[in-house]
């Protein structure tokens, strides 16, 4: 059973638009949700993360909205830039553990 699901395999937006990447999870015990950004030929890098006690986390143009009751979250990328084109992985874990469960990833393309 897949623990973390991302609703879109790919997403294309125009430069300047807000890209919204959706994610849901199965295990209510998860309490930490990082998003990783991966460029081709590179390893994933932590972009932004939220704990389950919060419903929103903002860092510059990147914002996570979290809904614990519905067990879903989304990553919003404001004012998307072509340099944001990458694969974004939603992930989840619980505080006592560093075992991270990844979604399949959403490939974002930002067109100039």
């Amino acid at each position: 059973q897949q623990q973390v699901r991302q609703s879109s395999q790919s997403l294309t937006v125009w430069e300047g638009e807000t890209a919204i990447l959706n994610c849901s999870y199965e295990n209510s015990a998860f309490d930490y949700f990082p998003w990783y950004q991966q460029f081709p030929g590179e390893g994933p890098a932590l972009l932004i993360a939220i704990r389950s006690v919060s419903d929103k986390k903002e860092d510059g143009r990147f914002t996570i909205f979290f809904n614990k009751r519905e067990k879903n979250l989304s990553l919003h990328i404001k004012d998307s830039q072509p340099g944001d084109s990458a694969t974004y992985f939603c992930a989840a874990s619980w505080n006592s553990n560093n075992r991270i469960f990844f979604g399949d990833g959403t490939q974002l393309v930002v067109k100039p």
Partner: protein
């Protein structure tokens, strides 16, 4: 930022052969991990390692897999013998601390293994 280096970036071997994937973690990190990603699929946890011992492994970490980090050297993943289903990209990661809130994982660029 901190870098995790993986060697080789790509290796092609025949089924049944042994392969060793090498990882040079961030220098002061204490916890080490391997993840496996089959093309087009999610990255899946294989194993984590601390103080010379495997702390936790998943069901993907078959008996043919082993990990070690002799003092001052690479953190390695050895597969012996390899099978066709071992073809994947293997990502190494390291963290200074334990627990996702304080132990941010830094990933390498991956080692692509192709088993023929």
């Amino acid at each position: 930022g901190p870098k995790v280096l993986q060697i080789p970036s790509h290796q092609i071997i025949d089924m049944g052969q042994m392969v060793t994937l090498n990882c040079d973690p961030v220098s002061n990190h204490l916890y080490f991990y391997w993840y496996k990603q089959i093309l087009g699929q999610q990255m899946e946890f294989l194993v984590n390692f601390y103080n010379g011992k495997v702390m936790e492994k998943s069901k993907l970490f078959k008996d043919q897999f082993s990990v070690e980090r002799p003092d001052g050297s690479y953190f390695t993943l050895k597969i012996q013998p390899t099978a066709l289903e071992d073809s994947a990209v293997y990502f190494c990661a390291s963290s200074l601390n334990w627990g996702p809130n304080t132990g941010q994982l830094y990933f390498g660029e991956g080692s692509k293994l192709t088993v023929l």
